[in-house]
Point group: C2
Chain length 154, copies 2
């Protein structure tokens, strides 16, 4: 466990697509069909990424999204922060001083240091790095169109 949410994982896929198409403006629908993730979900994610400044948006006809800056300048921590709020391994370390077990908790500050270590690991990996390990993925297609595999049950 200790995992990022599915949505954050999707978000990374979306950013990867935008990074691979930096020159063009991509609509949510474009990105959705390219990645196989449902349109409403893509839309929701890109909105969040827009609010936090990882992508820029253009409204109106021919509008869409673009990566806001170089993939080297976007870290894994940025992505997680944007979609899940600030990285922090325990509740305490986020809203510090508010822990209900404060009087009893003998561990408190301990996790903070773990947190710093994790934070550093996440800061050190950029979107560009994430893309480099990209083995060009075979894509499921039918009649030339990528097939959405979302919502399939195991």
């Amino acid at each position: 466990m200790l995992r990022i949410s599915k949505l954050t994982d999707y978000g990374t896929v979306l950013l990867a697509h935008l990074a691979a198409n930096r020159t063009s403006v991509c609509s949510a629908a474009d990105v959705a069909s390219a990645t196989g993730i449902a349109v409403p979900t893509v839309s929701k994610l890109l909105k969040s990424l827009g609010r936090t400044g990882l992508v820029t948006s253009t409204r109106g006809a021919n509008g869409g999204y673009q990566l806001a800056r170089d993939p080297r300048e976007i870290s894994a921590a940025d992505i997680i922060d944007a979609l899940e709020g600030p990285v922090s391994i325990t509740e305490c370390s986020a809203t510090d001083g508010q822990c209900e077990h404060e009087g009893v908790c003998s561990v408190g500050g301990a996790w903070q240091r773990v947190n710093v270590a994790i934070r550093r690991a996440l800061d050190d990996v950029s979107l560009h790095d994430l893309l480099r390990s990209n083995i060009p993925a075979p894509q499921f297609q039918f009649a030339g169109l990528p097939i959405s595999v979302e919502n399939k049950r195991k």
Copy 2:
């Protein structure tokens, strides 16, 4: 976000208590009253920790739990593994090869490396380390008994 569950956090507090009382056998009730965490919850956690070998248990009258090994030999990763299953930042990296987006996912292997970094951070911190940062905690007491503050709402 990207946090450990509340139960794992509690688990660490329990282990900290056992570490501080290595010489004696502590019953679940003892630990509960010392930490202010509800008995059934403590019991559930200690059972899990027993199954995964972080604590040893003695059944019957005067039974209870003891830390299985030196606090230096128990890492944060061990604790998380015991209570949440194997650390892994995405679903894919846990049950690899089973991702439903496999054909479309261009990011896959990327998170794995982030995962390794996090894993390393968690392996490097031992229960003993967690205790060192322990500022002796003031405890809420009433008539000499520690007060459980669990289930208080904000």
